[in-house]
Symmetry: C2
DNA sequence: CTGAAAGCGCTAACAG
DNA sequence: CTGTTAGCGCTTTCAG
């Protein structure tokens, strides 16, 4: 089923059929009707592969994320998808599993489709990846993080600053014996930066983290419980626990409440991400919103603008996450 | 940057360069090396648009799902993505927002890329959608649901049966005054089928649902709390609540535990999906696993097989969800 | 093992 | 407003 079929069925030249189907150029109402009828009758679906090759315009936006298992990324994707929905652009998603080699491979695959733009999570990329992007010469928006040197545009939050602000709030509230619980993911740069921002701020106040606990795999809620128990077994005097994400934080919160521990009196808690789930917990966990949906939407907007020839390259947009004290961090 | 550039840089014909880059046909080691060096030096990324047009082989698998906001679908996607990872196939995702018109539109868009196969959620599609799929003549796998007539292949669970089995377990445990809490989504056919299977089985036992509550939007956990309160306000005598998904069920569970209600003695609870989250709750909610990841992986496997010319068309695979009684449904 | 010719299905550019 | 011509960048096919 090709344009030629529609052309023959309607008695109109292929070129004019093409114009009708793309709403491009002036075509008389009569011809237009004939063509549309023939196309519908035949159930013609244009071949974008041929179309894109001929026009060298591709309506694809490549999106590269580390994972689909962590709800954070589907939320970003959802923002991108919703925003692109109002345009002709279509997202194509690739998943790297947090692995740089895989990122390179996925990037290569995606670029081979000659997308009109690219959205990619994080600022850390291999030299090979950077080289590919430079060659591709398409608008690139790096998302989620702004702590570093973007290739082109960038929208996200400062995770270092997020860690820093949480540390300040904790200190301000008077907590001093602080533990950290996180994921065993050396390649999660954003978690690492939050940790750095956090510990550096504590250090400036002359405080060092008294205990740490890391996990990998499994149900985050369960792991949060287990880690909380473990860290308190080893460091019973801790008066605050900072979790690298809300799910393990929620697990810890549930565990402590069951134990009858006074939260936030005896021990304070905080997580990170601002997941909706927290609203339904018995007590609201302190957290910091990562602006996931907004980041996705803004990235999509930037790409749209650039493709439309409007936005400037190199634009950096820093979102400011709200600190939400909830009910697990004493107000100061 | 085209094949021609690599050809000129390496002094090898375009055709042979093409063969090297695709590992196709016999090429001497010497030529191969020359070509690979030139390609790497230039940072050449093949143009799959041209390649696909010329060969009429497209390594894309279209995946159409209702939403990214409900964790269920990213989980299925993740299964598909992981399974396709070991092949040359690449998933391309489209989102319908549960709207049939949007599904048609997304399907049209996707088919215009001439994917090698299609995975689509659900068995309910408009006539136009079915017509497009028929014309496309590619392997189609409908997923998540098996209650209906598939277009081609199909892998999922019977939601009617899931509702039926849960009803049986509830009756067996001796509960009689039953309430239902679900989403306000007339187009979520799977939720509807569970409800049908559930009520039909109750009816056979001479029992009718005594109260219902529906929600739309907002945090499911919070809504679960609110709905639970609301339904019990209106029907204080209910002794069982069946939730159409685990998140609202978890909200209900937390609410009742806080109230000091005897679960499952005074009132029993059950959800649906088998989300990992449940493992970390104070009490484990009864549920039924929807086999989300497995369905994704199996669908991807079916597509791979079909594209490789192996699998039979029309294969239907019914997964059997495990009933997990947890600690909110009295054992019988 | 290597190359030349032809064309995938469509659209840009130009001519009427 | 409509049609013709010439590719887009690659691969198929066939010839050496």
């Amino acid at each position: 089923m090709t344009l030629r079929d529609v052309s023959e069925a309607s008695g109109v030249s292929e070129m004019t059929v093409s114009r009708v189907l793309r709403n491009k150029g002036d075509v008389s109402a009569a011809t237009r009707a004939k063509v549309q009828e023939a196309a519908k009758l035949l159930g013609y679906v244009p071949n974008r592969i041929a179309g894109s090759l001929a026009s060298s315009h591709v309506n694809l936006v490549a999106v590269i994320i580390p994972s689909l298992k962590n709800m954070v990324f589907p939320e970003v994707l959802s923002g991108i998808s919703d925003e692109l929905d109002e345009s002709v652009l279509q997202p194509v998603v690739g998943v790297t599993g947090y692995r740089p080699e895989k990122e390179e491979q996925v990037l290569f695959e995606m670029l081979s489709w000659r997308p009109a733009g690219l959205i990619i999570a994080g600022l850390e990329h291999s030299d090979a990846s950077r080289a590919m992007l430079a060659q591709a010469a398409i608008p690139v928006v790096e998302i989620m993080d702004v702590d570093g040197a973007p290739i082109d545009s960038c929208v996200g939050i400062s995770h270092r600053r997020a860690g820093h602000e949480m540390a300040e709030a904790i200190l301000r509230a008077g907590y001093r014996r602080i533990g950290f619980l996180g994921t065993q993911m050396p390649l999660d740069h954003r978690a690492r930066k939050r940790f750095e921002g956090f510990t550096r701020t504590l250090a400036k106040a002359g405080i060092e983290i008294e205990g740490q606990e890391f996990y990998a795999g499994g149900s985050a809620l369960v792991k949060g419980r287990e880690m909380t128990q473990a860290i308190l077994d080893r460091h019973p005097d801790l008066d605050f626990l900072y979790y690298s994400n809300d799910m393990i934080g929620a697990g810890g919160l549930l565990y402590l409440l069951e134990k009858g521990v006074d939260v936030p009196g005896k021990i304070g808690l905080a997580g990170f991400n601002g997941v909706e789930l927290l609203d339904g917990l018995p007590r609201k966990l302190a957290t910091m919103d990562a602006c996931r949906r907004e980041i996705g939407m803004e990235a999509a907007r930037m790409i749209k603008a650039r493709i439309a020839g409007q936005g400037e390259p190199g634009k950096i947009m820093t979102m400011t996450p709200r600190l939400e004290l909830g009910q697990t961090l004493i107000r100061s």
